[in-house]
């Protein structure tokens, strides 16, 4: 093995330092081709018959893309059609430097066996390494390195190919100069576009091509629409001296000409800068990090309250512009009349783009033959994107994904390319897909690698398994869950001991027995973080074999469990706590209603019922103790859909009912979680995974206090206990629903509970549960946090051993961040799914008249809650095309007087509910007022009869 040395000198900015590093060149780096007889490689990646049918290259060939091709055309490279590609180390390193997301995607592609992508370590190969020549820029040197490597490959293959079928290497580059030089040195070289267009079998790939710089020039007119962005160096200088501000760009949902930039100051001091007009927005897209410059105070404006949607079809840019100018001036006029002006500014540069593929729909161009179309994203905050496609007619009416490639200064819209189609709009599957993608929920089927770590079926408990487990199969354990639940992760038992005390056991599915640390299954579960429950669909965190079978504590089968067993006296005081891995055999899996029935039915006296009664009694005591300590009972309305068994369309909507047994199970889960949290924290003070719920800042309560005051009820928010007590005492005669409404409002004031690693934080308090320490232990099938807690607890009781990542608090902390993110997104996805099904429901029901309560009062609208459906909707008073009634908004109340009527929070109103499907992209529920009757505002109650008819038809 030859080792030779060259010195690579590097200087770093900020105190120039000379760094000398060794650079070894080797001659044992193989070419990775199956056809090669010269290399002594053990495994090959590149195939001999590398056939991608192309009209340009009729011979088998390997592709060598340069850095820019990889960076911009990763969508194309990811396509299964593209195979046998050589990624040079130079390219890989440059990509790593320039774009982390692309690097990640490239790595994923490299790992995929079927893609036959090979990484050639050209920088360390004796024959392909080149030194930087004097006067040569780093980029030029890298381009040359790529050419040298490509040259080497073609010669190497010519020399060593065994069966001489003319395997060649094709360099892909979009750089004119590079291409020319490559041609001079006798290489086969094509532009990426040329090559992709020449692929015979796959014309649709062309749509995925990102537009390169030259193409953009063709599209946009030569007229410059936007001011130039400043270079990063000037932006940084500007931020340093305070003339620019850095912040996150947030486009307005309602007005496409308006946005705010959220500038994070030191501490809590953060400001918002208002941006108005296309010029000032200057091509920033929602969520980008931008630099803004404040305008002089005289040009400050107030945010407009106008709803403006960018709705023009793909007209000529000029025409549109004129219209816009009108719109802007109108907005500005509005602003002048109001006194509430805000700091206003303009975008001078983009610090970091945060583009991702967007879901949305295509607006097909009116010109039939045109290949350029506008794409409207589902998220209204994202501007429309111009894409080029030949399949417009097939894509119309479909939900598609589009990625932005760039936004040149002479183009009204950003340019993008088509990524993939999700299916036709309005269909349940498509909408679900959109919902999952928009909320970043990983929902692909589990890969073979993941499934390979599942236990082999048929599975049974072996004697070896029982060595470290306690045999609790004789106990009469039962589980209580919602109806239709197949992933049962908890079961309970309670029995009287000889000394008169009670033994209570909580048995949790032993998922960590099946999911071993750091294998593919574990990594997948950690990345998914949580199971997502949508209406009628569950996106599992672990494969179904585990979630619904081997881990699920179903009745009358033997299952592994992690048990937490207490000895309690009849006052529900815990005398002893014990944790053990065990084997159980659940005697019954009940629903909440069934369990309730057993408890109430005095004729039943079997062991399970007795056990349930004991549990119920203890739970009540526990709950009282907890509430005395200041735990909050909050309320939010949750709805259940009754689904049609065949079409899976929602038939009926019902708010979830809470029974005693619900709270019985909950109490013991809380107790188990707290006991476990204490145990793992005692054992691992640095790396215990815990959950905290921070106390909300006092200002959060403003809306609650005001609302309560309007009904002459005093709410104290000094502490959780005071809040809980005053919520309990809040009652208004003749208004039984008042208390629930108040609790709903209180829920909205709360902060989000989060996972964290005990070594990284000092505040452990859980505000809502009034517990000094808390964690999640009881649902390992559907939450990854619980699996980690199981592993920690297993180590703590000596049932398992640790592994490195478990003890690393930085890795734990990173894991917590992912779990928190996934948890939040899964909640959003759940809500969005409920909203979609609500729409489906109202679509099938036609028009409905319902009673509701005013939940919030806004300047031009009231928000109404309909308890029957748990549905919230907005009643606008200034709908387009109608005369606006006389509106007076009082901030203090808050109240809104419309003509003569005054609306306060908690007022009872009657509304009619319809589905507004004028916009396919954003269907929504529309509510309009029936009672109280206000002339010019309320609508006459529609006849209820057509609805009854419709129902009959449906049935």
């Amino acid at each position: 093995m030859l080792k030779s040395k060259t010195f690579v000198k590097k200087t770093r900015s900020g105190g120039v330092m000379k760094i000398v590093r060794e650079h070894y060149l080797r001659d044992d780096i193989w070419c990775g081709s199956e056809a090669c007889s010269g290399c002594k490689q053990e495994s090959t990646v590149l195939q001999t018959d590398a056939c991608m049918e192309s009209s340009l290259c009729s011979y088998p060939h390997y592709l060598v893309p340069d850095t820019n091709v990889v960076l911009h055309q990763i969508d194309v490279l990811e396509d299964p059609v593209i195979r046998n590609v050589i990624i040079l180390q130079t390219v890989l390193q440059e990509v790593r430097h320039r774009s982390a997301p692309v690097y990640k995607r490239l790595k994923d592609v490299l790992h995929e066996k079927e893609k036959h992508f090979y990484t050639f370590t050209n920088e360390h190969h004796r024959e392909t390494f080149i030194d930087r020549e004097p006067g040569e820029s780093a980029n030029d040197r890298n381009d040359r390195a790529i050419r040298v490597a490509a040259k080497w490959y073609s010669q190497h293959l010519k020399t060593f190919e065994c069966d001489k079928d003319g395997l060649k290497v094709v360099l892909l580059t979009n750089d004119q100069g590079n291409k020319q030089k490559a041609e001079e040195s006798g290489l086969l070289v094509y532009k990426c576009e040329e090559y992709i267009k020449s692929l015979i079998a796959n014309p649709e790939l062309v749509d995925r091509l990102a537009l390169s710089n030259d193409d953009k020039n063709e599209i946009g007119s030569s007229k410059v629409l936007f001011p130039e962005h400043l270079p990063l160096s000037r932006i940084q200088a500007g931020i340093k001296c305070g003339s620019f501000l850095q912040g996150t760009f947030r486009a307005s949902r309602d007005n496409y000409l308006e946005a705010t930039v959220f500038v994070q100051g030191e501490g809590d001091d953060s400001t918002e800068v208002l941006l108005q007009g296309l010029q000032n927005l200057n091509r920033a897209v929602h969520q980008d990090v931008v630099a803004v410059q404040l305008l002089p105070r005289s040009q400050w404006v107030a945010p407009s309250s106008v709803v403006l949607q960018d709705e023009g079809a793909a007209k000529d840019d000029d025409v549109e512009e004129e219209e816009e100018e009108k719109a802007v001036s109108w907005v500005l006029d509005q602003g002048e009349t109001q006194s509430a002006r805000k700091p206003t500014g303009k975008v001078v540069g983009i610090i970091k783009r945060n583009w991702r593929p967007f879901c949305g729909m295509l607006n097909v161009s009116q010109i039939k033959e045109s290949t350029r179309h506008l794409f409207t994203p589902a998220d209204r905050r994202v501007p429309r994107i111009r894409i080029e496609t030949r399949q417009a007619s097939t894509l119309a009416g479909h939900r598609i994904m589009v990625a932005i490639d760039g936004w040149p200064k002479d183009s009204r819209y950003p340019n993008g390319h088509f990524v993939r189609s999700l299916g036709s709009a309005g269909e349940k599957d498509t909408e679900q897909e959109v919902l999952l993608l928009e909320h970043d929920v990983p929902h692909q089927a589990f890969s073979q690698a993941v499934l390979s770590f599942l236990p082999k079926m048929p599975w049974a408990i072996t004697p070896e398994d029982m060595v470290r487990r306690e045999d609790l199969r004789h106990l009469s354990v039962c589980s209580v869950d919602p109806p239709g639940c197949t992933d049962i992760d908890d079961a309970l038992h309670c029995r009287e001991l000889e000394n008169g005390n009670l033994e209570v056991g909580v048995h949790i599915a032993d998922v960590s027995h099946f999911i071993r640390p750091s294998n593919a299954l574990d990594k997948e579960a950690a990345s998914r973080g949580t199971t997502v429950y949508l209406c009628g669909k569950r996106i599992d965190m672990v494969p179904e074999l585990l979630s619904s079978n081997l881990c699920s504590l179903r009745s009358n089968v033997e299952r592994f469990a992690f048990s937490c067993i207490w000895e309690m006296n009849h006052k529900a005081e815990v005398l002893k706590t014990r944790f053990t891995k065990s084997a159980i055999n659940s005697k019954a899996s009940l629903t909440y209603a069934e369990a309730q029935m057993r408890i109430d039915d005095t004729n039943m006296n079997d062991e399970i019922t007795k056990s349930l009664r004991g549990l119920n009694k203890l739970a009540k005591t526990l709950k009282r103790q907890r509430i005395d300590k200041g735990a909050l009972t909050l309320s939010s309305l949750e709805v259940r859909f009754h689904m049609d068994s065949e079409t899976h369309d929602p038939i009926d909507l019902q708010t979830k009912e809470l029974m005693e047994t619900n709270s019985m199970v909950e109490e013991f889960m809380l107790l188990a979680n707290i006991s476990v949290a204490q145990k793992i924290y005692d054992e691992f003070s640095e790396c215990a995974l815990l959950r905290k719920h921070p106390a909300p800042p006092p200002s959060n309560y403003d809306i609650l206090l005001k609302a309560a005051k309007s009904k002459d009820v005093e709410i104290h928010t000094d502490s959780a206990k005071a809040l809980a007590d005053s919520l309990d005492g809040a009652k208004v005669d003749g208004f039984p629903y008042f208390n629930t409404l108040l609790r709903i409002l209180a829920t909205r004031c709360m902060m989000q509970a989060v996972y964290f690693c005990s070594g990284m934080d000092s505040d452990f308090h859980h505000y809502g549960l009034a517990s000094p320490i808390y964690t999640h232990f009881t649902s390992p099938i559907r939450r990854y946090a619980d699996i980690i807690v199981h592993r920690l607890l297993a180590v703590a009781i000596g049932a398992d051993s640790t592994y490195p990542d478990l003890m690393d608090k930085h890795k734990q902390s990173a894991l917590c961040n992912n779990l928190n993110y996934r948890h939040k997104m899964s909640q959003y996805a759940q809500r969005a799914s409920v909203a979609f099904h609500t729409q489906l429901f109202f679509k099938s029901r036609g028009i409905l008249n319902e009673e509701g309560y005013v939940l919030f009062v806004r300047k031009n609208a009231i928000i109404v809650l309909i308890p029957k459906f748990g549905l919230e909707g907005t009643v606008f008073f200034d709908t387009k095309g109608k005369t606006v009634p006389n509106l007076v908004f009082d901030e203090e109340g808050p109240t809104l007087s419309v003509e003569q009527h005054i609306f306060c929070i908690f007022d009872k109103v009657k509304v009619t509910i319809t589905l507004d499907d004028s916009n396919v992209q954003h269907q929504k529920i529309r509510m309009s007022l029936i009672e109280p009757v206000i002339t010019g505002v309320s609508v006459p109650a529609p006849d209820a009869e057509p609805q009854a008819k419709k129902l009959k038809l449906d049935n």
Binding site: K3, K5, M17, K18, I19, V20, R21, E22, H23, Y24, L25, R26, Q89, R96, K107, L110, H111, T119, T121, E123, H124, E683, F684, E686, C687, V795, S801, T802, Y803, P804, M807, H810
Partner: protein
Amino acid sequence: MNSVAALCLNIPDIKRCIQTEEDRTVTVRTLLLLSLWSCRSSSPGGAFGYVHSAADTWGVALAVRLPFIRSLRKNMAGLELLSDQGYRLDGRKAAELRKVQARMGVFAQADGSAYLEQGNTKALAVVYGPHEIRGSRSRALHDRAVINCQYSMATFSTAERKRRPHGDRKSTEMSLHLKQTFEAAVMTQLYPRSQIDIYVKILQSDGGNYSVCVNAATLAVIDAGIPMRDYVCACTVGFVDETPLADLCYAEESGGVSSLALALLPRGGQIALLQMDARLHQDHLEALIEAAMTACKGVSKVLDEVVRQHLQEVSSLTGE
């Protein structure tokens, strides 16, 4: 000789004396083996004579606190230390050493001297002695020689020129480690009441200073004609992506790798010194020590060649 037997520490023995924390991560601060003397007088402590000798160095290394290591980890998050293809920053594979080049007898005035390059780390070692005790006579030992080590770094040895005062904590610690390494290897009992001086200077530093010093000093001691049990070879190993990397360069050392330094008497596989200042999970320790031992054996082959070549040159010069 029973002392040699006592020196034979195998991995299970080491594990027993490493402090294991409750979460099964270990921090081997400095574990060293015993000079000959402490082995011989090991009658009460039996095979565990080294425990007390290790104990006094715990204190020294404890000063290297964990936050320091953490700050390093943050510093250089940008480097990919081991690529998917299995190549390191400088193109080596995980188990490959840097190029080792050495010359013996570079100075005429000293009793023994050697110059050794391990990649870009370059060291000069000089040995005087054995000679009678200089300075206070009370330091003399009646049954063996005293070994006196001094480690220093040249002002021009790093990218930034820096004055390095004598006797700062880092070099004192390094001197101490060198001393203890050579007490285990040199047959000091042959020279009672005398002294052997070993001076090592780092001329250019690029990671693995301790190991390069040990390797250079070994050659110098051999050049001085002082009998040793075996070559002492040292090597650092780091742990990245579940893979041990042999012979770390500076970029790797500062890239937040938990590294371990090991000095070995290769023929018998005895460990003369083991040092690690980072936290590591116990499961990985064995693999890491294995890799370090393999690397040390690689170094010993090179040193052996250098010695043989040197002998040939010297003997041809003297006409034999």
